[in-house]
């Protein structure tokens, strides 16, 4: 029997607010343990939460970007369970009334496009972190992360393969980062993904029993874990067995998922509306305010780039992978007026230099003005393509302007027709055999003459002029 996977993803994104969701503590990552805490996020007796409205604003941004309907009223609920990283014994989350629901995003994979539904988005607080002492039978808890705002984005079970899941995940990641509401760092846990997956015989409607996968801290791991789990469930079903509804942890090293059976299972979270917080009212004016401030999203940008700059879809895709890269590209185009050439340089040398050193476009030593200046120098014929390669490399290393580098290296193109004709005449004179061959119809030999001419001018000759002059002079 052929099986079809049914996958839904739950994504938790840590929001880049300055302060936590219910107190004034810093929400920054990386401080010494328990230094970003106060009685409120420590869950001390008698303290009360007060909602950070920035969190709601960020949630609305994501809701609008994913085509969700924003509900005018929602509330917070308590999710009750005991764990030492949860100081109150409950997590403040949202349950019966989510703030945003019924959305979708379009994803592309295998050259196809598909719409994945979004069930809901809600806000909640993060828990702390447990640290276990390897040498002593002791555990410690760091509550810096407690109360850091999260949004949970739950997809519909619309995903049908591991690749599709990865494409959806990338799309959401891209949107969150574009909106500048999440830094998207999967290793540090500011972007986390859990998956629900079940199999059903292809062509049938009802869902099979699902497993929940956790602990996948990279795009690659999400895809690998799902691929593994599809095979595992298929093996179980084909063997006449039944998939157990459970939580399974991805083991990156072993490349398998393990059952997390035991006390973590079968929680009754006893959700109920948090009486310490009043319902959140989101009026049209607030939504409109957020909508106005909404940046251009990756897909819109891609389409605009293709339209406005007449560049291929592939180029537009690469150039819009981050807002900073797209901004860089646009600045270069604005300054040099050559969208296609600018695209080639940004996607070529610039990204190669940066990738080699794993640097971000924001750290690029070549200012957009320098790259644009260099492109203008090529177009004006001051330098040729080969020289430009040398110039870009030097600009990346030194951060200097192209003019400065050209002067330093004496990299000016020879465009003096008289001088070039002399050089070519000399080459023709020295190579009678090749001239004979060329004139006898062996066109390939033309390349030999170009090479000789470039060599004689140390690569400084204008290649177009060399071509033209050679053709004329070889013709005799």
């Amino acid at each position: 029997m052929e099986f079809e996977p049914v996958i839904g993803l739950e994504i938790h994104a840590q929001l880049l607010t300055d302060t936590k969701i219910f107190c004034g503590c810093s929400a920054k990552f990386g401080a010494a343990p328990n230094t970003h805490t106060c009685p409120v996020c420590l869950g001390m007796p008698g303290v009360l939460p007060v909602l950070n409205r920035k969190v709601v604003e960020f949630m609305i941004k994501m809701a609008l970007a994913t085509n969700c309907a924003v509900n005018r009223e929602c509330n917070f609920a308590r999710k009750n369970y005991f764990y030492p990283d949860l100081p109150k014994g409950y997590q403040i989350s949202q349950y019966a009334l989510p703030p945003a629901e019924h959305g979708w995003v379009d994803v592309e994979f295998d050259g196809r496009q598909k719409r994945i539904g979004i069930t809901r988005i809600h806000m909640e607080e993060d828990a702390g972190k447990l640290m276990h002492d390897e040498h002593n039978p002791a555990s410690y808890v760091d509550l810096n992360r407690t109360g850091v705002p999260l949004i949970e984005i739950v997809s519909e079970p619309d995903i049908r393969s591991a690749e599709e899941a990865a494409a959806y995940l990338r799309r959401l990641h891209e949107i969150l980062v574009y909106l500048e509401i999440c830094d998207g760092n999967m290793e540090e846990g500011s972007f986390r993904c859990d998956a629900n997956i079940s199999l059903r015989p292809r062509g049938t409607e009802p869902f099979g029993t699902r497993a929940e996968l956790k602990n996948m801290n990279s795009f690659r791991n999400v895809q690998r874990a799902l691929e593994y789990e599809i095979k595992r469930q298929q093996y179980v079903l084909e063997g006449g067995g039944q998939v157990v509804q459970e939580t399974r942890l991805w083991d990156d090293t072993a490349g398998v998922t393990h059952s997390m059976r035991g006390k973590e299972e079968a929680h009754d979270y006893r959700y109920f509306p948090d009486p310490d917080l009043v319902p959140i009212v989101i009026d049209d004016a607030w939504i409109e305010e957020v909508r106005k401030a909404q940046p251009e999203l990756p897909l819109e940008k891609r389409e605009r780039f293709m339209r406005a700059y007449q560049i291929p879809a592939y180029d537009a895709g690469v150039l819009t992978t981050s807002r900073a890269l797209a901004d860089y590209y646009e600045e270069v185009v604005r300054l040099c007026g050559e969208p296609k050439i600018a695209a080639n340089w940004v996607m070529g040398d610039i990204l190669r230099f940066l990738n080699e050193e794993k640097r971000d476009i924001r750290e690029c030593p070549i200012a957009p003005a320098s790259l644009a200046g260099m492109i203008r120098l090529i177009q004006e014929g001051t330098i040729n393509g080969k020289m430009a390669k040398e110039v870009s490399e030097a600009m990346y290393k030194s951060g200097k302007t192209p003019q400065a580098i050209i002067e330093e290296k004496g990299l000016v193109q020879i465009t003096d027709e008289g001088a070039l004709s002399e050089t070519i005449a000399e080459i023709i004179g020295k190579n009678p055999a090749q001239v004979e061959q060329y004139r006898g119809g062996k066109d390939k030999v033309f390349g030999f003459f170009v090479g000789q001419a470039m060599k004689a001018t140390q690569g400084k000759a204008n290649p177009q002029m060399i071509n033209d002059l050679l053709k004329k002079m070889l013709a005799g």
């Binding site: 009685p39 008698g46 100081p87 109920f272 310490d276």
Partner: protein
């Protein structure tokens, strides 16, 4: 007359004229504490040294002419209000060693007004009780008869006040925990509108019902204390930014032409005849003062107790989850793993009544039962609230007994939770509706036990309650009696 026997306003007159000092008043109060505390046991923690220092500072301020609303007045706090640097136990073993690094908003306000804080008063564990017998620190006795309970859960605050161990005190009221002990100890107790007084730093029992309020010797003192503690607090989301009037302006204004609602559902079988007689007498008094009494109906009254005992335990089981032995408070050292540490810490950290309510609440919120219990209770709660809205369309205030009986004997109801719960039958609806209520002394039984009458008004109508209670107090001419604090 000893200084500890006087009211806030009487003492303020003496402080202003220089007839006495805060140091003298404070010394008088602590002298009284030394004399009766061993019998009454109203306090869990005394703050003698800091109180004396505060009194000295208050006297300096008075000399400089800087007199705040409560400068130099000794006030006791229920041990449910967090006090920076001073142990705050909530009457529980699980917090027996908890020292908050912050003051509750009301404590900040009292300090800012110049009050002298005498100590932390006894209470039922986590405010769950009506007799102050469930305190981990032992029961408080009623100063009028030391074999009887002072009411609860704020029994320490009412007993301390009745016994002269403070000039006024604060309590908290979730289902009657201010008004019931006020009635049983013969003092004035006000539960403000939900959202009127900040809950920040009030250790939560049932968040949607809890409210801090004053215990005072008369209605004027109640107005003085309300002026200090009421007001919006940005640290509490459910706090209401409603303007706070000067409550003293409502004193002595009279109630000529007011309509008083007498809810028929509150005069029931099982009410003590002496209590009923005293309360019926108050109706005559307010009529004499010019008010008109009419019968009103609060048809969902019979469901109040049931709704309360779902909503309050449900919120409590969640509010009390933080006491897990991990971060502060009591931790059992017997646990071999995390789960055992939780179980043993909570099993020996909480008393029986608290555990009973945690179990009730956990059950009511469980998946499969939520709709039948918590959700249904929330719906009925809305109907109870509507009853009051409809009643207040016909009357200015509602008059009821505060309690069905006078103070009962220590140990009399500890074995029967249902009997204990019934002692709050007239006070619970107020919390469910979120409206203010005040209990004012209205007489004594033949055995000399105090009786209280309760007045209720619409949301944020504390001024109306104070006006009505003040008029009643003036018209009633109750004989002034003092408890003996002995006789075990």
């Amino acid at each position: 007359m000893e200084l500890y026997e006087l009211t806030i306003h009487e003492l303020q007159d003496k402080l202003r004229t220089g007839e006495t000092s805060s140091a003298e008043i404070t010394a008088s109060v602590f002298g009284r504490i030394d004399a009766v505390e061993k019998d009454v046991h109203a306090y869990i923690t005394l703050m003698r040294e800091t109180a004396l220092a505060e009194a000295t500072r208050a006297d300096e301020a008075i000399r400089k002419g800087e007199i705040g609303a409560l400068t130099g007045i000794p006030i006791a706090l229920k041990d449910i209000c967090c006090t920076k640097g001073v142990r705050t136990t909530c009457g529980s073993r699980i917090l027996h060693n908890f020292i908050p690094p912050y003051d509750a908003t009301v404590v900040e306000k009292l300090r800012a007004a110049g009050a002298v804080l005498t100590g932390k008063t006894n209470m039922d564990e986590f405010a769950m009780g009506s007799s102050t017998e469930s305190s981990f620190f032992g029961a408080t006795r009623n100063p009028w008869d030391l074999t009887r309970i002072p009411g609860g859960s704020s029994g320490g605050s009412s007993a301390a006040l009745a016994a002269g161990e403070c000039i006024a005190s604060l309590g908290s009221d979730t289902g009657g925990s201010i008004r019931q002990p006020a009635a049983l100890c013969g003092v004035v107790g006000l539960k403000p509108t939900y959202g009127r007084v900040s809950r920040f730093g009030l250790i939560a029992f049932a968040s949607s019902l809890d409210q801090i309020g004053p215990f005072t010797k008369d209605v004027e003192d109640c107005a003085i204390l309300m002026n200090v503690i009421a007001g919006y607090d940005p640290r509490e989301s459910t706090s209401v930014p409603e303007e706070v009037p000067d409550y003293r302006q409502f004193l002595g204004r009279g109630i000529e032409g007011w309509t008083v609602g007498i809810p028929k559902e509150y005069f029931i079988d099982g009410i003590d005849p002496e209590v009923e007689a005293a309360v019926r007498e108050t109706i005559k008094v307010v009529e004499k003062a010019g008010a008109k009494c009419i019968e009103v109906s609060l048809p969902h009254t019979e469901y109040c107790l049931a709704v309360y005992y779902i909503v309050a335990p449900a919120e409590a089981c969640s509010n009390l989850a933080r006491y897990d032995g991990v971060k502060y408070g009591f931790r059992s050292e017997e646990g071999r793993d995390l789960m055992e540490m939780y179980k043993k810490s909570r099993a020996s950290g909480f008393g029986a009544e608290v555990k009973r309510r945690i179990m009730i609440g956990t059950y009511a919120l469980s998946s499969g039962y939520y709709d039948a219990y918590y959700k249904k209770a929330s719906q009925v709660r809305a109907l109870i609230k509507r009853d009051f809205d409809e009643a207040f369309a016909k009357c200015d205030v509602i008059l009821t007994p505060t309690t069905p009986t006078p103070a009962f004997r220590i140990g009399e109801k500890t074995g029967d939770p249902m009997q204990m719960y019934l002692s709050d039958i007239f006070t619970i609806s107020t919390n469910l509706a979120g409206i203010p209520g005040i209990s004012v002394p209205c007489g004594f039984t033949a055995a000399g036990l105090p009786i209280g009458v309760q007045f209720l008004a619409g949301h944020f109508q504390e001024g109306r309650l104070i006006q009505f209670a003040s008029a009643y107090e003036k018209e009633a001419h109750l004989e002034k009696r003092r408890p003996r604090c002995h006789g075990i």
